[in-house]
Amino acid sequence: MANGENQNPNPNPIEATPGAAARTITLKTADGEIFEVEEAVAMEFGTVKSFFEDDAVSATKPMPLPNVSGSALSRVITYCRRSLEIRSMIPPATSEDATAAEAVQGEGDLEAEKAAKQERKEFEAEFLKDESNEDVKELILAANYLNIKELLDFLCRSVALRIQNKSVEYARKFFGIEGDYTPEEEAQIRQEYAWAFEGVDED
């Protein structure tokens, strides 16, 4: 994870709070892999959050994630870590660690917000670059199961961009779905929505 580009004085905000032990939470995936994740990151997972809030469960006992593979969880953790870092680039309303140069509160906010937006854009563009359709699907299922709204929305947005302006056949191939309409039903849909099927990119 590259930390050098941003101007945040704390390049590793998750471990930055001095004195506080970085609590980790143990997660066990469907294929038996064990992951030790910083508490801040693990709490981004809605499923994990409610598990530890409802039950006074010891944080050392590994939480089972039967629907998530090791590779998917690893990607998810990468995303959430980076996302937390980017979010911490924007100083909160009352910033305690503002240095003299950053004492100008509002200015810090404006510039920081712009920088954060740019970082997020670049990071998100890179994140899915080498992922296959199957990988993306796995990530979506993992994000859905773990209840991570930000990641899920990002993945759905990316998928939507890939099938925008494309034909039904292209989308079916992309998702690996077989159409399950009868020929009559299919014909009816195409007739009812003839306007939409005009000039479609048969790529």
Binding site: G106, V159, A160, L161, Q164, N165, I177, G179, A196, V200
Partner: protein, 419 residues
């Protein structure tokens, strides 16, 4: 992707948003069709999405929009932005709004309706959070039974509304934070054209293309005020000194009052505005938290009306971004650069000319001397179409001077923007 839950498919379809893409995707398989019918929350019919919309008659468009909307359930965001359509029939528009009434949170609609429909009366009000309306009229606002309890953002463009209704509308929105008024047609009952708006929650207001005698805004939480292309005799802001961003562009106003308390001002951006510096300075002199000051395309009549760096340095010690563009003449240069206080926090300097002259490079030099911590310099220039020989020579001399000048300031990044 066969294992994708139908709600997730609904999420994907909602990200697609454009009606045509949604319809095509719904033909993928039964699950996707179910997602379209039960889990789609955003749908848009925008003329920019698809060129074929332009070839369809308004009636055909009405049919297509009706059929598409009526297959959905629980739509939260509906956008109908059809720039090429002259008018939609009232019955169709009423149908769309009534169908989505219970669940709609965001509505964008910009087509004239005939006969005229009171959109505010028909659209969903309980959950509406954001409304953008254009090319329609608003009449008979009744804040007692027409409340918008969740509306945070309201944008009215080319809308005809009376001053009274506009004021009542604002009171019908107890949580409103953002208001945009562009080219409104304000009907007035008496000779004097006055608009008086009150909102304790309003944070940001943008007004463009308005021509009034009096505009009074009472807003105790206001943070951003932006006026563009307006002609006003009196503009008065009554508040609790919460204003942070103040921007006026191409506005003529005889009497401008933004209140006594201006301590929270962070950004002041004035362009194309005839101000008398001493008067204006009086208005913002106590804004010691000012971070950005932009005075652009300004013309000064008298020498002592000129903005001078000494005043800026002393009054705004936290200034980090300074942008100046005005008609430079000998007196302006001399007076403007008098004093010696440094602007220690300025890291970005933007300087512009309307008509270039040889004084400009001296001006840049003088400014650079006063900004010891400068990191970036942006020079904005306007090149006239008919480039006279003289102008080219002046530009050449200017370029040489800048090259030489910047050798002393190697750490400063220089950018040129010519129009």
């Amino acid at each position: 992707m066969e294992d994708l839950p139908v709600e997730v498919v609904g999420n994907i379809l909602s990200r697609l948003g454009a009606a045509r893409d949604v319809v095509i995707a719904s033909a993928i398989c039964r699950k996707w069709r179910e997602a379209y019918r039960k889990h789609l929350h955003t749908l848009s019919f925008n003329s920019t999405d698809w060129t074929v919309y332009r070839d369809l008659t308004p009636s055909r468009l009405e049919i297509l929009i009706t059929r598409t909307i009526f297959q959905t359930t629980g739509l939260q965001g509906l956008s109908i932005l059809m720039d090429d359509v002259d008018v939609f029939s009232a019955s169709a528009v009423i149908a769309w709004l009534m169908y989505t009434r219970e669940t709609l949170r965001r509505l964008i609609y910009n087509v004239r309706t005939t006969p005229n429909v009171n959109i505010l009366e028909i659209c969903g009000r309980q959950k509406l959070e954001s409304l953008l309306l254009a090319h329609n009229s608003i009449t008979g606002v009744e804040p007692n039974f027409q409340r918008f309890p969740c509306l945070k953002s309201l944008s009215l463009s080319c809308v005809s509304i009376s001053a009274l209704d506009l004021s009542l509308l604002l009171t019908a929105c107890p949580k409103i934070e953002t208001l945009e008024l562009v080219d409104p047609e304000i009907a007035m009952s008496d000779a004097q054209v006055t608009v008086e708006l009150t909102s304790p929650t309003l944070k940001s207001i943008y007004v463009e293309g308005i021509s009034l005698d009096k505009f009074i805004l009472e807003a105790d939480s206001i943070e951003c005020l932006h006026l563009k292309d307006c002609a006003l005799e009196i503009f008065e802001l009554i508040g609790k000194g919460t204003l942070k961003h103040f921007k006026i562009d191409d506005v003529s106003v005889l009497h401008l009052d933004i209140g006594e308390i201006v301590e929270n001002l962070e950004i002041v951006d004035i362009s194309n505005f005839t101000i008398i510096w001493p008067k204006f300075y009086q208005m913002i002199s106590r804004s010691s938290k000012l971070q950005r000051l932009r005075l652009w395309d300004m013309v000064f009549d008298e020498e002592d009306e000129i903005v001078d760096l000494e005043t800026i340095a002393v009054c705004f010690p936290q200034l980090s971004h300074l942008s100046l563009s005005y008609d430079l003449r000998d007196g302006v240069l001399h007076y403007g650069l008098q004093g010696s206080s440094h602007l220690v926090n300025v890291t970005v300097l933007e300087i512009g000319w309307i008509v270039i002259n040889d004084l400009f490079s001296h001006w840049v030099e003088g400014l650079l001397e006063r900004c010891p911590n400068l990191k970036k310099l942006v020079i904005h220039g306007i090149i006239s179409e008919a480039k006279s020989h003289d102008e080219c020579q002046i530009l050449a001399r200017f370029t040489s001077s800048i090259v030489q000048l910047m050798r002393k300031y190697l750490h400063v990044e220089v950018q040129f923007e010519y129009q």
